[in-house]
């Protein structure tokens, strides 16, 4: 939960940094965190996590995919700008962060008949 709130806070801070055009030394780490980590961190608790390595990759991949999709949509509309792109990705991040983790009900152990039986 802390990760989700932190992700949303960083997303909003990145929007502020880009909108008011703060110096690169402040703007770059915030915007990088937004584009490469925040959306993934926001949604990770929803999909669960087992393996730290896979979790890290899912966080980055989800964030990069969000950035690519948001930027693609804006570029197709002909309105891609740093502010528009940052706001769009931050909005998705906040939206993902508001999805409630599911009540899984009964816990159980999966039966392993996987690729390496």
């Amino acid at each position: 939960m802390i990760g989700r709130r932190l992700a949303m806070a960083v997303a909003l801070a990145a929007v502020v940094a880009v909108v008011v055009d703060l110096p690169v030394v402040v703007r770059a780490p915030l915007a990088l965190a937004l584009f490469l980590a925040c959306p993934g961190l926001a949604v990770l608790p929803v999909i669960g996590g087992r393996d730290p390595l896979l979790d890290a990759l899912v966080v980055v991949a989800t964030s990069v995919a969000t950035t690519i999709l948001a930027a693609s949509a804006l570029v197709l509309l002909g309105v891609l700008s740093p502010v528009a792109g940052t706001v769009a990705v931050a909005a998705v991040c906040v939206g993902l962060g508001r999805i409630r983790p599911f009540d899984y009900g009964a816990w159980s152990t999966p039966v392993d008949v996987g690729l390496d039986p």
Binding site: R27, L54, A61, L69, F102, A106
Partner: protein, 570 residues
């Protein structure tokens, strides 16, 4: 851990003595000092010891793989001030276009494919503009980021496939050593390859067949319908980003999801269909203008799979001895990895462990040859997509069957590393003499592209220079090396007359000829032009009063016709 720290320190200190300008036609290997090779050997020995221990220290193994990726992909980034590969600069040109126009133009006459699959470029433009980090800097460090991410994504995929713990990290290690094709540069292929691996790594555990046909989240908890929908949504979002960024990777993803389903191990049929729908949807709706223009070529490619598989292979009899050695190293490395994978599969069969699925995954990318030549590159892309599964199979050649002892694992790891590493250094860094660019070359190109009027003509010795990274749509470019042989012969007979007419007689408001060091080195290696052609051309134009060198530094020169020089740069 201490040894790894020493390796990193040794590697870093070794790079301080490298004289890039002294490189020969076998690339970086010719200038790397002995400390670099000592560091690599120490890392290999340390990793072998790491794998030989009874239980695998996952963190330590991961650090070894990360340091290997650093030494392989980080070395050029540390040594050069500018991104390597001429084609990186074309990609920078698309990012520049989007940054200036906030849009793409799918029907543009030049580099239209990138405007039809704009995802990577739009994302890079946003990343660069919003962070304030120059796109050149992103491109310079991209190979290290993508190379490292690929290695870890491969490890995560093997973990999801429940491979042997030692095979997971041996496979990730081998995947770094095996990947000589150089596709992790600043490109759509690089980012979509990592995303492709992550999608597979997430799909396998979540959609693994269970005894009660239930689905599980990444923690092994039973997923309800809404949680399942979220996970599918996540996978589809990543697949969607792949679909809008690259032509080939979504097809590979569909193929692999289909094979997983066919093997009966992962319930991925519906997912494969959804990804296929997203892919076809983008091709039909988003990339319509490109598809309409290239449909004839695509149909012709689909009818010629053998031609597709051989069209990009270089004729080693024609190129320089050093370049032939580099090409041979690439083929030898591929052969070593395939041989090791074969041994791994035989061991799996002999020990009656699963092998059919692994063999099927190894050969799945071969189906891509049936559909396209991919502009002569399809065999390299096929190899790229085979590398993860070849690496896992090769890992099973060195990790334990039920009876193996630690020293055998260490010996196998070390032997494979010692066999593959020299070949990798030759194959991956062997063309660096012309794949890296100096300040002079970048400045020469910038002097044209930053100031020339729209519609200008740029005659290039060859395409191998840092071109088209600014206002690319404003220029018409003519690389001499791609002109018919008769044209080159005509220029060789009368350089002043032919080039003079090209630069002066056309409708372009300004015209330039750029000749650079990297163009000359490329032509010495690949020999598309006669020996000494560009040197002779440069000398002839320098001696002629009809031309003026408006940019003249040791590594690059830009000529214009004397009349244009009198009128000014415009």
């Amino acid at each position: 851990m201490g040894l790894v720290a020493i390796v990193v320190a040794l590697w870093w200190s070794s790079l301080r003595t490298v004289d890039v300008d002294a490189m020969s036609d076998i690339g970086l290997v010719s200038v790397l000092p002995v400390q670099y090779f000592a560091a690599l050997a120490m890392l290999g020995a340390s990793f072998a010891w790491c794998l030989a221990r009874r239980t695998t220290d996952r963190t330590l193994a991961a650090i070894h793989v990360a340091v290997l990726a650093l030494m392989v992909h980080g070395t050029p980034a540390v040594l050069y001030d500018h991104p390597r590969y001429a084609w990186s600069y074309k990609h920078l040109g698309i990012v520049d276009y989007i940054s200036r126009h906030d849009a793409v133009d799918p029907s543009i006459r030049s580099l239209d494919v990138y405007h039809n699959w704009p995802g990577f470029f739009a994302g890079s433009s946003l990343l660069s503009d919003a962070t304030g980090i120059d796109a050149f800097t992103l491109a310079r460090w991209a190979p290290l980021a993508f190379g490292t991410a690929s290695a870890f994504a491969v490890a995560a995929l093997f973990h999801s496939m429940r491979a042997h713990p030692k095979a997971i990290w041996a496979g990730a290690w081998i995947s770094v050593l095996a990947n000589w094709v150089g596709q992790e540069y600043f490109s759509p292929q690089a980012v979509t390859f990592v995303l492709f691996l992550v999608v597979l790594a997430v799909t396998v555990p979540v959609f693994r067949m269970g005894a009660y046909e239930e689905r599980w989240d990444l923690r092994g908890r039973l997923l309800g319908p809404s949680a399942r929908a979220t996970t599918v949504g996540l996978i589809l979002a990543i697949a969607g980003a792949i679909a809008v960024s690259h032509q080939l990777t979504p097809l590979a993803l569909v193929a692999f999801l289909g094979v997983f389903a066919l093997l009966g191990r992962v319930r991925s049929w519906r997912l494969a269909v959804l990804v296929a729908v997203a892919t076809v949807g983008w091709i039909v709706l988003g990339a319509q203008s490109f598809v309409e223009r290239s449909l004839t070529d695509q149909v012709a490619d689909a009818a010629a799979p053998f031609s597709n598989s051989t069209s990009g292979l270089v004729d080693t009899a024609r190129i320089s001895a050093g370049s032939a050695l580099v090409a041979g190293a690439a083929r030898a490395l591929s052969a070593v990895i395939v041989l090791a994978a074969g041994i791994g599969l035989v061991r799996r069969i002999a020990s009656r462990q699963w092998w059919v699925a692994l063999a099927a995954l190894v050969v799945t990318p071969l189906t891509m040859v049936l559909f396209s030549s991919y502009d002569g590159e399809i065999q390299f892309r096929v190899y790229l997509f085979m590398v993860p599964f070849l690496s896992l199979a090769a890992a099973y050649a060195i990790v334990p069957t039920r009876t193996d002892h630690g020293w055998r694992v260490a010996a196998g790891t070390l032997a494979l590393t010692l066999a593959a590493t020299p070949l990798l250094l030759l194959a991956y860094d062997g063309k660096e003499q012309y794949n890296h660019f100096t300040d002079d070359e970048v400045a020469a190109a910038r002097s044209i592209y930053a100031t020339a009027p729209p519609g200008s003509l740029v005659v290039e010795g060859s395409r191998n220079y840092p071109g088209l990274f600014l206002r690319y749509e404003d220029f018409v470019t003519v690389p001499i090396s791609r002109e018919p042989g008769a044209t080159a012969a005509r220029i060789a007979r009368d350089p002043v007359g032919v080039i003079g007419s090209w630069l002066s007689d056309g409708p372009a408001p300004a015209a330039y000829l750029i000749i650079t060091r990297s163009q000359k080195r490329e032509q010495e290696a690949l020999r598309d032009l006669p020996e000494g052609f560009l040197d002779d051309l440069e000398a002839a134009l320098r001696a002629s009063p009809e031309f003026v060198a408006v940019f003249d530094r040791p590594d690059a020169v830009v000529f214009v016709a004397a009349g244009q020089a009198e009128r000014g740069p415009g």
